[in-house]
Subunit: 391 residues, 2 copies
């Protein structure tokens, strides 16, 4: 039966529960939502209920198991909402069930377009080769469009590759979307003319449903090449839909997704959620909290996100990881070492602390990145996935 | 400053962190996303960053505090995605921060329509007065439209008030949405003609974005009066938008929201998420796992959801709680006692276990509910919120 998806779980049975019974309970709960003995059709029992394929104790987590359960692809209805439901709908409300991986058959992968640009496309848009990309953020909330535009211009003058809105910048009464995007895009274009470098401005799309399309169109009409979106704020399938309909670089932000990562025995891993799923719904870039920053991902978790974004996933283009969250310039050599060149290094407020003159601060940021990728061949050797897999 | 929303948090500082510093860190993180000393504008510091209003140790959770932080309503951009971000965007990725309550000013509450029908409207649609409503679910996934329709007809013949699709029934290759809804609605209408009772059929809406509107329209054209939606699968603002645009009873399902409830020190409480927020985005009915069922809410958490759904919330209509999740007929008197009549008692697969003849099983379900509300005046005395607050 090749047309099945396989979900790998970490399971920690509660007292009095066998691991086999727990696997069966999950396979039932996520499909038929009833006890085994109530299923009156053998066909449903065989075809709809999940089947446990593998089951092993996890050596590094005593009392926990790794289980693989397979489900017919048809049970997902080939749609993101029901895929999410099959993955983690009802069991999200249970306890000690963590999703470690999802393995989708080609029938499912072919259903989704994934990143519009991917690594190669973003390199082509920005003209950056052989090094990681640099990204910074416009903040704080409360600034006027003109003030934010001045920041965007200064950052572009310093030849940053991408400057995005903070993900809290919405269509506020004190800073409307249309005005902000027009001023920032204008300021960046002007600086680009002066420097000859390409800085891209990515506005944050965070509108109520009735204005999402209008906001995206405003951005496109102004010549914007990419946007920031938070799939958990907008809806994952909403992002998927707009990524399919707008030829833009989609940058995923993890806001509102964090309850999945709070307890390592429950939720989906960062690699599955911010890696596989965000790429599936069309994120060209996925922002996540870097290890050692002001949030709490481990280095292994970060690497798992990177692999999920950059490794093979059907015909979907590889995407760029964007480690962030309280990063400083000092950490760039370490990041270059750990992540290689196929990544976006996102440094936000540390840039504001670096120098009162944002252009000076940005130049220092860029110099640090350039140095990390010209001095050591080692960092460049980590680059993966930027070739091939174009579609 | 009346135009502020107040968020009440339960905070458990980590070692070496003062509670005051944690409050300030949250107030900054959720708005300006930068350290205090980097804010160059006094106006932004005063108007945009949240202000801690109250701070007390929590007597029943040693080491934890209850804090109230106020934010200008303008920071929400009066839109659901940015409201969710302000509430729990970045801090979801942190640890030991739980949202206990949200208090919205009238400027924000007036922005959203809330439930289309509410308690009074649903009573008027169904004709049910003086008792709780009965709901059951069509399952399992894998049945054909005709098989599900036969179940729907049998349940309607037994005079259940509402029969909904299981929330896993999507637009599957083995059971398409349009065919399923047509057959089920037809079967229920036929049974209603025979019995003279009104049973409503609520199909599950779980389509990819490009088909959501079409599916809702199919339902409306067939005379369907309500639907089932899972806001975390479709997107909370997506549900809000369609609830504003379709004059249907919206029934919220908690699928995929459960990571909020896994650790009582982190996430949003069930009352905030499945109560206040689901009502805000337009849920007329909110399904949640009842205490003592196969999921793990406490009785206090259930009561908090009920209060959030039925109590005052601006001009928004009160909504009906629907405790569910492995409920049995035996528990109806206890539920009547605990929840009163302004609730929907959702019994799923237990009905299938009750009797091979689903009509017989449903009649027993209805008899049990009727008995619980005619024998004791006490149960009825719990009814709240069905009067007034119409808009």
């Amino acid at each position: 039966m090749p047309n099945r998806l396989r979900i790998t779980y970490q399971l920690t049975p509660l007292a009095g529960q066998t691991i086999e019974a727990l696997c069966r309970a999950i396979a039932l709960e996520q499909t038929v939502e009833m006890a085994d003995d109530l299923i009156r059709s053998e066909c449903i029992r065989d075809q709809i209920v999940g089947e446990t394929l593998e089951l092993d104790p996890l050596p590094d987590a005593p009392g926990s198991y790794r289980a693989v359960i397979a489900y017919q692809a048809d049970t997902t209805a080939y749609a993101v909402p029901q895929l999410l439901n099959l993955l983690y709908g009802n069991i999200s409300i249970k306890t000690n069930i963590r999703i470690l991986g999802i393995d989708l058959p080609s029938t499912l992968l072919a259903r989704w377009h994934g990143p519009n640009y991917g690594i190669a496309g973003i390199r082509s848009l920005t003209g950056v080769e052989g090094r990681a990309l640099a990204m910074t953020a416009l903040k704080p909330m409360g600034m006027s469009p003109n003030e934010l535009a001045a920041m965007a211009g200064a950052v572009a003058e310093g030849e940053c590759d991408i400057v995005k809105d903070d993900h809290g910048l919405a269509d506020h009464p004190f800073c409307g979307f249309a005005e902000r995007v027009a001023r920032c895009q204008e300021a960046v274009a002007l600086a680009n003319q002066r420097t000859g470098h390409t800085t891209l401005y990515f506005p944050n799309i965070s509108a109520p449903m009735e204005h999402l399309e209008r906001h995206l169109q405003i951005a496109v009409d102004l010549g914007v090449k990419g946007v920031l979106v938070a799939p958990f704020l907008l809806g994952l399938d909403t992002v998927r839909y707009y990524a399919e309909h707008y030829d833009l670089v989609f940058t995923g932000h993890p806001a509102f997704s964090g309850t999945h990562f709070h307890d390592r025995r429950h939720g989906m891993t960062p690699g599955v959620l911010l890696g596989t799923l965000f790429r599936l719904i069309g994120c060209d870039i996925s922002i996540y909290p870097n290890f050692g920053g002001r949030f709490a991902f481990t280095q292994d978790e970060c690497h798992a996100i990177n692999s999920a974004l950059r490794g093979p996933l059907g015909e979907l283009r590889p995407a760029l990881p964007a480690p962030a969250g309280g990063m400083t310039l000092d950490r760039i050599p370490e990041m270059a070492q750990a992540y290689g060149s196929d990544a976006v290094y996102l440094i936000g407020s540390a840039l504001l602390r670096e120098d009162p003159d944002l252009t000076v601060a940005t130049r220092r940021f860029m110099a640090r990145i350039n140095a990390s990728f010209t001095n050591t061949g080692e960092s460049r050797s980590h680059a993966t996935g930027s070739r091939g897999a174009a579609r």
